[in-house]
């Protein structure tokens, strides 16, 4: 197996909430120790519900959020503390696609200026003609007309704007792209356009994706492997089809049984695992296994110790149910 292009080692991202002059701030454990490896050319899907820490993880990788502990290795190099030219190279290699097509483009810049900006920042291409030629190339690659180059973002639809954002991301020829809910804000008929585009680009350019989303159906479609997060912890990692057909962790089972299926006969007849209780606060997570308060199979051990992510057959699961094996 080739070396991973991205590796997270026990990554922790904690935030201080509140706190004032005399009051100590509370600590929100948004990401509480996750480890995973992503290989070149692969799409790794990261799923979970609100508050699970998936977006925070993505943002920590591109250095928007600072990790509190742990390592982020890109091609073997820990990027948490890099500076100068190394940092510049990192920014060319690792990029991000954002969720909101209406907020991720500067409304005062033309489409051409938006896509050209990364080239200006990194000094790629010397002349303006070269840069403009590349911008037109990228616009065509994402399925837009090159003569839209002088238009402003507000003249485009959501799906078109998202494609402009993708073109901007590709300007630097990145090797790894974090896709933070790239289709959640788009209409259903447009989502497939963007998904197909991302797959096409991956096939042509060999980019690896970390695909963060809450729409499990789309994640399963595009990802090679999927990681499931709950309250800042990775509870299960496995191949997409495998994970879907045979989820091992009780949370994964409950999550997958809640996914709406666009097929009336199947939807009305299937068994749903309904989770009791409510999502605990990440400021005060439960002791031991964070899922134990809602787990239908919780045992005494679950309150005392935190299960580690261990290999079970071809899967990684963090659950004491599989400990004996």
């Amino acid at each position: 197996m080739a070396d991973p292009i991205l590796e997270l080692q026990d990554l922790k991202v904690y935030f201080n909430i509140g706190g004032g002059f005399l009051k100590k701030p509370e600590i929100c454990k948004a990401v509480d120790g996750i480890s995973l490896k992503i290989y070149p050319g692969e799409t790794f899907g990261l799923v979970g519900e609100s508050g699970c820490g998936k977006s925070t993880t993505g943002r920590a990788i591109v250095k928007i959020n600072q990790p509190t502990a742990g390592k982020i290795l890109v091609n073997g190099v820990d990027i948490t503390k890099i500076k100068g030219n190394d940092l510049k190279q990192f920014k060319q290699d690792v990029q991000m696609i954002f969720q909101d097509p209406y907020a991720s483009l500067n409304p005062r810049m033309t489409v051409g200026e938006i896509i050209k900006e990364p080239m200006d920042i990194h000094g790629i291409y010397k002349t303006n003609e070269e840069k403009e030629a590349r911008v037109r190339e990228l616009l065509e690659l994402v399925g837009l007309k090159p003569d839209h180059i002088r238009r402003y973002p507000h003249e485009f639809s959501g799906g078109q704007r998202q494609r402009i954002g993708i073109a901007r991301t590709l300007a630097l020829n990145p090797k790894f792209v974090v896709c933070d809910e790239p289709i959640s804000a788009l209409d259903v008929s447009i989502q497939a356009q963007v998904i197909n585009l991302l797959e096409k680009i991956q096939a042509e350019m060999g980019i690896s994706y970390l695909f963060i989303a809450h729409d499990l159906s789309m994640v399963k479609h595009i990802s090679d492997r999927i990681g499931v997060m709950y309250l800042g912890n990775l509870v299960e990692v496995g191949e997409s089809d495998d994970l879907y057909n045979n989820p091992l962790h009780p949370y994964t089972q409950a999550l997958l049984s809640s996914v709406p299926i666009p097929d009336p006969k199947v939807a009305k007849s299937r068994e749903r695992i309904v989770l009791q209780g409510e999502l605990p606060s990440p400021i005060n997570p439960p002791s031991g296994c964070v899922f134990r308060t809602r787990c239908p199979k919780a045992m005494e051990k679950c309150a005392k110790c935190k299960p580690e992510l261990k290999e079970v057959k071809d899967r990684l699961v963090a659950c004491f149910l599989y400990d004996k094996e």
Partner: protein, 311 residues
């Protein structure tokens, strides 16, 4: 849309042939290309009061420049023979106690008052943008210290600054400008900071960061540029306030010295003989009030025109 009338369309087989892709408009763009400011100008024009204000201001500026140039009288030319005269064809606004033509004096005063207003607002704008921008973008402790400083300065009344500075540096254009700018940059800084703090969490700012843009680039090219709407409105409101402060100084007697005149000093000069010759006070006061009103309407109109949410 009239649903009752059905077009008499003869349905022939050729109509059921495939439609050419060229005749479809799948990826067309619906709006014509208009920048934010062009769009704002269209909306501004629809506000009648704002347009009136703009016209008045334009007329006032032109008069202040042109009238002293074409008038046979100068601002300091005395003619005791016609002192304290009323309105006439030769002197449309009358003359003061030294026989000087009031119209020319009001227009010259306008040159001073308006330039003080514009310059003070510009200086406050520049200081405010840099100070507020840095505080808002850097955040954390730097922001806290910078803003506490602003809080302290804010708690002292404007006039106190202005009077102190003018008195210390002796009344002159420089000291008056200095005083007024120093008293008005804080509000601008606060506003810019608030705008920058909101915008820096927006995805396009984060995108610029992820692309590797430097802090300076993000601050000026992305954050400040997108804050220009509310900032422009604030600047427009700074101008009448500066004009008023300058006039007030003149009225207090610590404005520019005679025979130089600003609207405030003109009003002050005429104050003593107000009972006998009220119009001498009225003209400069009218100039101040109408200009301030016009600027307020413009500011209001700009606020509505530049507000992106109203689209």
């Amino acid at each position: 849309m009239d649903m009752s009338k059905k077009d008499e369309l003869q349905l022939t087989p050729d109509l059921f042939e495939r439609l050419d892709d060229k005749e479809k408009n799948a990826e067309k763009i619906s709006y014509e290309s208009k920048t934010y400011f062009q769009d704002a100008w269209v909306r501004f024009k629809q506000n009648k009061l704002a347009l009136v204000g703009l016209c008045f201001l334009a007329v006032m500026v032109i008069c202040c420049i042109v009238i002293p140039m074409v008038s046979p009288y100068t601002y300091d030319g005395q003619d005791m023979a016609v002192s304290n005269a009323g309105m006439s064809l030769a002197h449309p606004m009358g003359t003061d106690k030294f026989g000087r033509d009031i119209l020319v004096r009001v227009m010259c005063g306008g040159r001073i008052s308006l330039s003080v207003g514009a310059l003070a607002a510009t200086i406050a704008l520049v200081i405010g943008i840099v100070y507020g921008g840095i505080a808002g973008y850097v955040g954390g402790r730097v922001d806290m210290v910078m803003m506490r400083f602003v809080d302290m300065m804010y708690s002292i009344p404007d006039m106190l600054y202005i009077i102190m500075i003018v008195v210390v540096f002796e009344p002159s254009m420089f000291s008056i400008l200095l005083g007024i700018s120093i008293s008005s940059w804080m509000g601008m800084a606060r506003q810019v900071r608030a705008q920058v703090m909101t915008l820096k969490e927006q995805e396009f700012s984060l995108a610029a960061f992820v692309l590797g843009a430097s802090k300076k680039r993000i601050l000026f090219k992305h954050l400040i540029v997108n804050s220009m709407g509310p900032i422009i409105v604030s600047v427009t409101m700074l101008v009448p306030s500066a004009i008023f402060n300058e006039a007030f100084l003149g009225f207090l007697g610590i404005g520019l010295s005679a025979p130089q005149a600003s609207w405030g000093t003109l009003a002050n000069d005429a104050r003593q003989i107000m009972m006998a010759y009220p119009m001498q006070v009225v003209w400069p006061v009218l100039a101040i009030c109408l200009t301030m009103l016009a600027l307020n309407f413009i500011g209001d109109g700009l606020g509505d025109a530049l507000d992106p949410k109203k689209k």
